[in-house]
Amino acid sequence: MSVELGHFALVLALALALVQSVVPFAGARLGSLSLMRVGEPVAITGFALVAAAFAALTLAYVQSDFSVLNVWENSHSAKPLLFKVTGTWGNHEGSMLLWVLILALFGAMVAAFGRNLPPTLRANVLAVQGLIASAFLLFILLTSNPFIRLQPAPMEGRDLNPILQDVGLAVHPPLLYLGYVGFSISFSFAVAALIDGRVDAAWARWVRPWTLAAWAFLTGGIAMGSYWAYYELGWGGFWFWDPVENASFMPWLSGTALLHSAIVMEKRSALKIWTVLLAILTFSLSLLGTFLVRSGVLTSVHAFASDPTRGVFILAILVFFIGGALALFAIRAAALAPGGLFHPISREGALVLNNLLLTTAAATVLVGTLYPLVIEAFSGDKISVGEPFFNLTFVPLFLPLLVAVPFGPMLAWKRGDLLAAAQRLQIAFVAAVIAGLLAFFMIDREAGFAAVGIALALWLLLGALTDLAMKSGVGKVTPAAAWRRFTGLPMSIFGTFLAHAGLGMTVLGVVCVTALETERILIMEPGQSTDISGYTLRFDGLSPFTGPNYTEDQAAFTIFSGGVVVDEIISSKRLYTARGMPTTEAGIKTMGFSQLYVSIGDEAAGGGLVVRIWWKPLVTLIWLGALVMMAGGTVSLFDRRLRVGAPTRRRPARSGERTA
């Protein structure tokens, strides 16, 4: 019964979403507060119903109810419990349900916490949210229904794709979807503003925290996906410029731009039209990402769904929302009053530069992702636009952006002083140049890339620190006063610091791994040793092992450093018996921020084992940096100023702090 109740809850949620998309909107047109208010209880109830449907599906997975087609196709009774639960969204239907669940969650949050929004704005926002939810619920029910039953029910399922049987599946899609779908709120606010023909003062203050939250989740989701691919796929790459990765990277780039332009809008009422457009574009890119991954137009590891009717349906959704929003923008944008003026050299100017570079970068990624698809559609040729394209287009756009990052927070609003900012940054600049030169002479004389990259990464890190120090008044006031001022700084300043420093960490990790990693591929016999980057690895032998739903051959390696045993690594080749699918499980040992990565191949003809060993210097910084960025977003979110109408806490003025 639980399965059918879940199915009915989902259908009921569609009915409520339809009501939500029409009634509050009509209410806003007619000026009826009661009709406008319908959006709130309906959004909250709708969320409860989608959650109930999701719970019913999860229960079916946990109980191995193979009378549900979706469970039979993607589960197996021998799977560990965690993977039964995560298997719920490890397939097309379930992941779409998760998508809608998160959409409903965000809608319910606007309904619950939006009491201080102007009622028409809130009604319009909820109506747009309802419209998106209706479209996707219809998509699920008509083309990707996870509640289709199977009668008679088989006794055993076909198991989940072994690559997905990993903790990564528990974390990566939910985070990614929280990011993707989080941008729907900014989109709804943008469309609501266009419908009303005015941008309320509350608009920017609302859009910013939602964008911030979505951005933080998306950052975490992308980083988690990257690390998952790194350790699961067994060839040690952290980013492949795979269309699926690009699909999540594009909204991140434009979302980052949106985040920054929303600051300008909030503080200075400027860039209104641009911010509205960015909000529309960011969610459009999220929808595009959903389309690319979910329609099966791509064939890659992630594309575990393919059905042309689905593709056409999502394409229709895409055209309706993106086309509709852009058309509305074209009609109404002129009506939005332009905001404050500013000098090119100013905080606003720096943020505009940031926006231009980020959106252009997003455009290059878009071209690199869609071009092969267009070629394939027209000529049938399958071409691949890989790393070389992105190195030539994306990297040259991103480098000046990275150089400019530390300047932004140093410049004053309205009109800034570039020279003064440069003077304040001179310590960071000198230190970065010295580090770059050291790297050039001591590590890598040939490429020069490592030197530039390391200098750039340090420039970002030290620039972020300098900003923090300057805002606390270090060097201008007594250390005690500086400390007091430091602890009193608004949270958003710490957020900026963490986000920019995290970016520096990620850049450092990427540069070090790309330029300085060492790789060895060889055939090893048991007992044989090999040296890599100061460590010695001894292959101890292969031994069989049986897991709950797989068998594997484990290769054990002992790591020596200077003749002393440091640790051991187990790397294995796994065979998932239900699908007869092999996977490689890389052996990874973290030493400081660096990692030793061992992946085994087939047994060679002579009896030895093909072994690939990488030394990946500072590789973990790539993901740690992303986590720090995510923390920055979260810290910023806790800045109480982001809450509209929050009562102000008066504090007596302290004369000692007035020095600056």
Partner: protein, 376 residues
């Protein structure tokens, strides 16, 4: 029944959610201007705080304060002209929309569910199905039960022994092989067990007797040299290796030794029949094989052609009525330059076909065309 009550209850809750604002009867909308004003006041106090902390120089703060002030002023002017216009509530239209909204909930949900749902079908958790009465369970269910039992008691040799042939019959050869292995592990090797393991392995590889399977059959014959299953499949291995004589010999022996009515006797006979048919086919190389011959190096090519001719020769010794076959053999020997063999074959053909038969004279004419048989 409970199900229908529950979904009726859910529908009621959803409809109530739509009606909620009307039940509470909220007042009129506060004009948007008040909300904007709250935000601007908030910004002002924030500005004061920043200025006090020294984050913004005093002159900048003053300028920002002035700008926010201007915004408030603009808002107040707009508010005076805006709010007085007011929006008259169109009562009837509002009621109609509300009513439609409330009615849409049951209409849409029950309508869609009638199309998509399977209301009669209960949830079927695996654990519950496995503990239900076995009398009316399907084969699949019985297997699943057995599997559940064996995963809890993996040392139950009889269980594995029962399950293994069931797997094999359902074509789940990999599972069958694993089950036989487990049986052998637990209760020691038997000839029949080894032979059945080998058979499962053959099934898994789509009918090819692999090295693993052959080892299992050899093991079985070591335990019982008369085991028909093992003998049968070892003969098949020979046949697949391209040694039909050896295979045929084993099968012939089996057919001779085994008692009438034995399943293996008829299997051996069938295999023999199949062997002769297959041999006939393989004497005539297919297009692909010929293309492969073209690509070979001359020495290997010569070897292969000679092998094929020898094959044809051997077949014609056993089955000499094939005139076309004799023609091909003669031509082959002539092309290879083996005239002695050609003459000898011509003589054999004449004997076999009857020296005065029309077939024999036609063959003699053919031989003359090839440039042999002039001596007779």
């Amino acid at each position: 029944m409970l199900f229908w009550v529950l979904i009726a209850l859910l529908t009621l809750i959803a409809s109530l959610a739509v009606m909620w604002p009307f039940l509470r009867n909220e007042g009129h909308a506060a004009p948007g201007a008040e909300h904007d004003l709250a935000v601007y006041r908030d910004q002002l106090s924030e500005l004061d705080r920043d200025a006090r902390r020294g984050l913004i120089p005093e002159e900048d703060a003053a300028e920002a304060r002035a700008e926010i002030g201007r915004r408030i002023l603009r808002l107040k002017q707009a508010g005076i002209s805006g709010t007085s216009a007011g929006v008259a509530t169109k009562g009837k239209l509002v009621a109609a929309i509300a009513m439609t909204g409330v009615l849409a909930v049951p209409a849409v949900s029950w309508g869609f569910y009638a199309l998509l749902g399977t209301p009669g079908l209960p949830a079927l958790p695996l654990a519950a199905r496995l503990t239900a009465d076995p009398a009316n369970a399907s084969i699949d269910e019985l297997i699943a039960r057995m599997e559940a039992h064996l995963s809890a008691n993996p040392d139950d040799a009889r269980g594995w022994e029962t399950l293994a042939p069931v797997y094999a019959r359902l074509g789940r050869y990999a599972d069958a092989a694993a089950a036989y292995r487990r049986t052998i592990e637990l209760s020691g090797p038997t000839a029949e067990g080894q032979a059945r393991l080998g058979e499962a392995l053959v099934g898994e590889s789509g009918g090819i007797v692999t090295a693993d399977a052959e080892a299992a059959f050899e093991h079985a014959l070591g335990l019982d040299p008369a085991n028909p299953r093992a003998r049968f499949f070892l003969a098949m291995a020979r046949a697949q290796e391209g040694k039909p004589q050896e295979a045929g010999a084993i099968w012939q022996k089996m057919a001779a030794e085994l008692p009438d009515g034995s399943a293996w006797k008829s299997a051996a006979n069938q295999a023999l029949a199949g062997l002769s048919v297959r041999e006939g086919e393989s004497a005539e190389p297919s297009e692909d094989e010929l293309a492969a011959v073209e690509r070979m190096d001359p020495e290997a090519r010569q070897d292969m052609i000679e092998g094929m001719v020898a094959c044809l020769d051997a077949r014609l010794r056993e089955n000499p009525d094939d005139v076309e076959g004799w023609r091909r053999l003669l031509r082959s020997y002539v092309v290879l330059g083996m005239t002695n063999e050609a003459e000898e074959a011509l003589a054999r053909a004449r004997d076999a076909l009857g020296p005065d038969s029309p077939d024999a004279s036609a063959l003699a004419d053919f031989a003359v065309e090839l440039g042999i048989g002039k001596g007779k």
